[in-house]
């Protein structure tokens, strides 16, 4: 193995689940007690975890059954009266199936809600394509004004949910079964996790659950590694500063969803300088007809530590 090659990877690729879903449920339940604006709209998924709350607040915790269009419509109607709805199910049934409801019942009405999705990308790999939604962030990105959070740790998820519930805007909180060993700051856009030398060759942006893998994959490279759990709005100014301080205007973005989802943001952030960028994420090329585990799909898409390490070397060591 070359000196700049990837370190041993098995621990990072199989990181213990960060229990974001539990953090979401406990935070939501606590908010129901303390904030009378908060409501929860469900479509059967996680219904058992809100049973007691639904008995106590029958109009504020509503399970509409397997009716995702109605789930979003009800949330929109609640928001129009000043409530703060949480809308929750598995990502494909939260973002893709009722997409026109997101566009019209929330965005077009200028009504807010906090969407909390579980099962992001291929978390539920054994479920196959029907339960995968790697295009969720790209799809929401077609609507103006949404905030999109991709936490990498349960503590980040809880913090982001609490903060989101205080506002009245449109938020997508994208939870994952996997994540990083430690929570990171989530309130200041891009956070530098590892600085390179004065002659560092560029910037790697790791989004949410990708951070630990990115750190391992770039261990031997002289680059800045920055982290964010918030991809919309994208911290354009922060990226511009990090790139300006690096020796090369080369940016590698590693996202846990569709590859290139944030490429236009990077291009806009760096419009004032000549630059190179490379996007890693879930491949757009083919539908991967495989089951197995999320780690299997990481390998298929080059999102395991080894795949990221190879792409990073190819990109930075030209």
């Amino acid at each position: 193995m070359p000196r700049n090659g990837p370190p041993s990877l098995s621990t990072v690729d199989n990181v213990t689940p960060t229990r974001m879903r539990e953090a979401f449920v406990s935070t939501a339940l606590a908010s129901l007690e303390t904030d009378p604006r908060v409501t929860v709209v469900l479509a059967d998924i996680s219904e058992d975890r809100f049973e007691t709350a639904a008995a106590r607040y029958p109009e504020r915790v509503v399970n509409v059954g397997i009716r995702e269009q109605l789930m979003v419509g009800v949330a929109g109607g609640m928001a129009l009266t000043g409530m703060r709805p949480i809308v929750h199910t598995i990502a494909p049934f939260l973002v893709e199936r009722p997409f026109e409801q997101l566009k019209l019942d929330l965005s077009h009405q200028d009504a807010g809600a906090v969407l909390v999705g579980v099962g992001s990308s291929y978390d539920y790999a054994a479920g196959g394509r029907t339960h995968m939604a790697p295009g969720d962030v790209a799809l929401l990105d077609t609507l103006p004004g949404w905030r999109v959070h991709v936490p990498g740790h349960a503590d980040e998820a809880a913090r982001l949910l609490r903060d989101s519930l205080e506002g009245d805007d449109r938020v997508y909180l994208r939870l994952s079964e996997r994540g990083n060993a430690a929570a990171r700051p989530v309130d200041d856009g891009l956070v530098t996790v590892r600085s390179g030398s004065a002659r560092r060759g560029g910037v790697v942006v790791a989004v949410g659950p990708m951070l630990d893998r990115v750190l391992a994959a770039t261990d031997g490279l002289d680059v800045t590694v920055a982290y964010t759990a918030t991809v919309r709005p994208f911290d354009r100014a922060g990226l511009n500063r990090l790139v300006a301080a690096a020796g090369q205007a080369d940016v590698l973005v590693v996202e846990p969803y569709l590859e290139g989802t944030s490429a236009h943001e990077v291009a806009t952030a760096l419009a004032d300088r000549r630059h190179r960028q490379r996007s890693l994420g879930v491949s757009r090329a083919d539908e991967v007809r495989g089951y197995g585990t999320a780690a299997d799909h990481d390998r298929a898409h080059g999102l395991d530590t080894e795949g990221i390490a190879k792409a990073a070397r190819d990109f930075f060591l030209v």
Partner: protein, 228 residues
Amino acid sequence: MTATTFGRYADLPALVGFMTGDEKHQAAAESTLDVLWVLYDRVLNVTPETLDDPDRDRFLLSKGHGPAAYYAVLAAKGFLGVRELRAWGAFDSPLGHHPDRVLVPGVEIGSGSLGHGLGLALGTALALRAQGRTRPRVVALVGDAELDEGSNHEAIAVAGRLGIDNLTVVVIDNQSDSLGWPGGIGERFAVEGWDARAVEGRDHAALYEALTTAHPGRPLAVTARVRS
């Protein structure tokens, strides 16, 4: 020009006449005229002075096609200036061929894509109950062809099963649905636990009675038959 100049039912055709274009939707616009008038004239507890009052009644025009009658009634009741009607459809007019709640005072939802109003209405009704507001009612208007959209049936089932009695749906039945509703439109609601009533859609007294007779513990569905 103020609403009092054009504040009568008899003025509505003239108000509609101020708006031009949208020929395709003209029949649909007229089919809603009498229901809208009865609602705003006698049923709904909302005025231009109370359009932000949390205890106001809410009217949600789900069938956003052909809103000329809606705008005309809103103008007659003083929510809109009569002068604004003339610019209908212009780029900088608040009045489009489908209404936008952000642009038009008194318009509770933006609509046009069919099948969105009932879900929004159910959420509004649930939230009003959660806030302890027992007085306001939520009335949504849909068309018989609009009921083709499956999203309506998600809302019909849940509102009925939960017994959301501060919710009313008016179905304008101008027989425009392509495949028909064997057994009748009201059956779709009744089987889910709604109080379902059918009236002639031009009969103001019958509309008023159907819309105001109590229906405790059940949402109300009024089918208003209109010959187009």
